[in-house]
């Protein structure tokens, strides 16, 4: 069977916390419960007498051990027991107290969960999209990557005929499978005409807007002004190079869906200087993937 061998090492550019293998830990006091039969009664009572609002991600019980409180709350385990007694808790149901290391927050990935539950039982709600993004080739199949590469070829072609830096951008509607605009870098003529800025301006023109700039070798799909077309909503952008801060923020304003780029840039804002697309305060977030046809992009 003949198989298309992809030259892309596609990976998702994800927020830092998702890439951490094991989460930061925090110390807690845990005590053994002397009578197994009274376990549920002890948990109930402890939840009332000594609630742990900032340890809600943890199970209260681990076998015959029960989590009392954060270790920083008391100088020693004995102090914690004394405090419980003062609150009217029957401390005869508890045995020895020890310090235990646990994770300080809810795991966001399965890998973090596996590491965390070795310390102490912990809650976890798997996010299928996150797990897919973390998997090999960001979870895309060979055929999908082949499709992405086809679009990247257009960006590469635009880069080769660029009058500025050898960089290019293609904006595509993945639903219709149509390319909306293709642009090269024009910094020679205008310092702000990076290929993504030009490509976004051409999208505006495709939707019947006046756009802002006149360009020559770049092009766009005419008659793309259907009522559902609104800025770059639902569109994907293919870039030979990681976009700068200006262009990355412009994609936020334009509401792009996904950005694929070949290689990183020293001034890039989607992985190098920062990961702008993961900034929580922004009102629109897009997905970012890198490594698409990176060898070809490097050769430019």
């Amino acid at each position: 069977m003949k198989k298309h061998i992809s030259s892309s090492n596609l990976e998702a550019v994800l927020e830092d916390i998702l890439l951490v293998d094991s989460l930061p830990s925090v110390e807690v006091y845990a005590a053994t419960v002397t009578h197994k039969k009274r376990l549920s009664e002890v948990i109930l009572r402890l939840n009332t007498v000594m609630p742990v609002p900032d340890l809600q991600h943890l199970k209260r019980i681990n076998g015959l051990r029960i989590l009392l409180c954060k270790a920083c709350s008391f100088r020693t385990g004995e102090d914690a027991i004394a405090d419980l007694a003062a609150r009217g808790f029957d401390v005869t149901s508890l045995g020895s107290v020890e310090k235990v290391s646990v994770v300080d927050r809810l795991p966001t990935t399965r890998r973090q969960f596996e590491a965390a539950k070795n310390l102490w039982p912990v809650n976890f709600h798997e996010d299928k999209l996150v797990e897919k993004a973390l998997s090999y080739r960001a979870g895309f199949c060979e055929e999908e990557v082949g499709g992405f590469e086809k679009w990247m070829e257009m960006a590469l072609e635009a880069a080769r005929r660029s009058t500025g830096y050898k960089m290019g951008c293609a904006i595509v509607d993945p639903k219709s499978g149509k390319v909306i605009s293709v642009a090269g870098d024009r910094r020679g003529q205008h310092p702000l005409q990076h290929s993504p800025m030009v490509a976004m301006d051409l999208v505006a023109k495709s939707q019947g807007g006046s756009g802002a700039w006149e360009t020559d070798q770049d092009y766009y799909l005419t008659g793309n002004d259907s009522p559902d077309a609104y800025l770059c909503t639902g569109y994907d952008a293919y870039l030979t190079h990681e976009p700068c801060v200006m262009c990355s923020m412009a994609f936020v304003h334009s509401r792009i869906k996904r950005v694929f780029y070949g290689v990183g840039s020293p001034d890039g804002a989607l992985g190098t200087l920062t990961k702008l697309h993961t900034t929580p305060a922004l009102n629109h977030h897009y997905e970012v993937y890198r490594g698409l046809l990176s060898d070809e992009c490097l050769k430019l």
């Binding site: 702000l192 800025m197 505006a204 006046s210 801060v245 200006m246």
Partner: protein, 152 residues
Amino acid sequence: MERALELAERALAKGEVPVGCIFVRGSCAIATGANDVNRTKNATRHAEMDCVDKVLKSGDSARDCNAHLTVEPCAMCAAALLNLKVERLIYGCPNDRFGGCGSVVDVAALLGSQIPIISAVLPDRAMALLKQFYAGTNPNAPLSKVKTKKPK
């Protein structure tokens, strides 16, 4: 900054995002900018980008200009202005939705820029205009404009 605020007031009266932008070199105003998102259908056409284009069209550059803005520029515009080496960036009120001078992103820190950034110049008036706009209380704006307004 008074001139920039006047521009913002005029934009509000037309139902546009009330953001004023003016580039000054020495004591000479060389260009003004206005938000042009609706006409162009290009969401990146903020007042600052419009102003830069006007300066470039006149054959000049933004270098050594003081950029006076009524509102903290977004990360896109902040990056553009710093990369164009304006002399100083001066703005009125913060922009907690998109601000690129520390409110949401600190672009100067990302770029390692030493260009002076001066904030809170007549912030109350700039903020009052924005509040009026986002509350949709501008009595001069036709209803359709109010409904289709695009956030800056």
